[in-house]
């Protein structure tokens, strides 16, 4: 056993080439460990150029190795703090305790009614006896507060985490709860990523079967944070039938496929319009885009939702159609989408269990 004092003394005699102070005085030595003749030293070299670092490490090994009772000297070089700090936000979040499946609702193109679909799908899943949470990650245009008619003061939980609001049986979290109606969110990417992280980590979601994440349109920071940091069980992709929308959504599907997130299915919104007076159906955006896309990527078409006024009024009044009119044909379509989502989740669970890790 070599005394740490002796090691420190030797280290304080080592001065990197071209450097004014010794490694101890410069605070480069982060830790020293001595056990059964093996000495392990963690060195944080800061701005030392590579040649000087190599010489310093060699000096340390020689000087400490010469101490009585030392058989082996290991020097670990730690990267500078600044680099570690800037990379910390990439740290993964991992599974959320108590939450069975996290699924994303994504669209890549704006204006397809993704949030409307997310809200109604969350409620339809609730009606199938699932415990559901909805995280509104659309920081630039949060719509969950209006769609659910939810608001008011957020309260901390007992252990100082954020308690989600609850409406129509669904647990809700949205950046909109922190803002008044007029203030825009003007944020840069890292802040968006930080917020999504915080909503996943620091909100007391409790026991949930499904946590749905309503993503902002696009393939940017919020999406990246999510797919890189939590094990997504899958994604539901919302589109409208026209060509330009399906092109964009294809990019989104490709993004999820690149990170191995299964696409649970496609929802085609605003698929057609039925004239309330004559009953004639009109394909406002052209027909079959969702079906086309589903076939092309080999994913199920979960459902086609027509353009109906009640869907819009439901969203605007905080009474989504699934709760306001559960017997409405549209609500039946959402029930079918919810069943399809659960079936796809189950199929994925059987197909790709996470790897066993043995350290």
């Amino acid at each position: 056993m070599t005394a740490l004092e002796d090691i420190r003394e030797r280290l304080s005699e080592i001065r990197p080439p071209g450097f004014p102070r010794d490694v101890m005085a410069a605070g480069m030595v982060r830790s020293i460990d001595s056990q059964d003749g093996t000495v392990t030293i963690a060195l944080e070299p800061r701005a030392l150029p590579p040649q000087a670092l190599n010489a310093t490490v060699a000096d340390i090994r020689r000087a400490v190795g010469a101490l009585e009772g030392v058989q082996e000297v290991t020097v670990h070089v730690i990267q500078p703090q600044a680099v570690q700090a800037s990379e910390a936000p990439n740290e993964e979040i991992g599974p959320i305790p108590g939450v069975r499946d996290i699924i994303a609702v994504a669209s890549t193109k704006g204006g397809v009614g993704k949030s409307t679909v997310a809200a109604n799908l969350a409620l339809a899943l609730g009606q199938l006896h699932q415990r559901v949470g909805l995280l509104d990650a659309d920081v630039y245009g949060p719509s969950v507060p209006i769609m659910f008619g939810a608001g008011g003061r957020l309260r901390p939980s007992e252990n100082q985490r954020i308690l989600p609001l609850q409406k129509h049986g669904v647990k809700l979290m949205s950046v909109g709860f922190f803002l008044d109606d007029q203030s825009p969110v003007i944020w840069r990417g890292p802040m968006v990523m930080g917020l999504v992280r915080q909503f996943l980590k620091d909100v007391e979601w409790g026991e949930l079967d499904i946590l749905m994440v309503d993503l902002p349109p696009g393939t940017g920071d919020a999406q990246l944070t999510l797919v890189q940091q939590v094990p997504l069980a899958g994604a539901v992709v919302v589109t409208t039938p026209q060509e330009v929308a399906t092109l964009d959504v294809q990019r989104g599907i490709a993004m999820f496929q690149r990170v191995n997130t299964p696409i649970l299915g496609v929802v085609e919104n605003m698929s057609h319009y039925r004239c309330p007076t004559c009953g004639k159906e009109e394909d406002v955006f052209g027909g079959g885009g969702g079906a086309h896309m589903a076939a092309r990527f080999g994913v199920p078409l979960l459902g086609r939702i027509p353009l109906v006024t009640e869907v819009r009024t439901g969203g605007d009044t905080g009474q989504p159609i699934v709760v306001a009119q559960p017997e409405h044909p549209i609500s039946k379509i959402f029930a079918q989408i919810a069943r399809g989502t659960l079936e796809a989740l189950e199929a994925e669970r059987l197909a790709a269990p996470p790897p066993k890790i043995i350290i």
């Binding site: 392990t40 963690a42 070299p45 590579p50 670092l53 190599n54 490490v57 090994r61 082996e72 000297v73 290991t74 020097v75 670990h76 070089v77 730690i78 990267q79 500078p80 680099v83 570690q84 990379e87 990439n90 993964e92 991992g94 797919v227 890189q228 940091q229 939590v230 094990p231 997504l232 690149r258 990170v259 191995n260 997130t261 299964p262 197909a351 790709a352 269990p353 996470p354 790897p355 066993k356 890790i357 043995i358 350290i359």
Partner: protein, 107 residues
């Protein structure tokens, strides 16, 4: 079927074993994996995070990232590398994979 590992295991002191869902088994010497760390600071030239001097390096923690990758924390405290399953498979050092003729499901 998406290529994914079914198990990832530390093999003794010096290597990591990955068994894939197509039946292939990869054994990676620790230094091979550490040298090919895909993180930005290791991939830039010259690398910002420096390789370990002296003793052998070993993973102290391996965790799953999303459904597409694993991250490895090394004994030199370097932990920013995210190895996608695709990258990990390409790094497989076995003769079969290196011959270039290998199809993943032929193993």
């Amino acid at each position: 079927m998406r290529l994914a590992p079914t198990s990832i295991k530390r093999l003794g002191r010096d290597s990591v074993e990955v068994v894939w869902n197509d039946g292939h088994r990869s054994v990676y010497p620790n230094h091979h994996l550490r040298q090919h760390c895909p993180c930005a600071s290791c991939r830039r030239q010259p690398p910002r995070s420096l390789p370990v001097f002296g003793a052998e390096i070993s993973p102290i923690d391996i965790s799953v990232v999303g459904r597409y990758a694993v991250s490895i924390e090394w004994s030199d405290r370097h932990d920013s590398g995210i190895y996608s399953y695709e990258t990990l498979r390409q790094l497989c050092p076995c003769d079969f994979c290196h011959a270039g003729a290998a199809k993943p499901n032929a193993a």
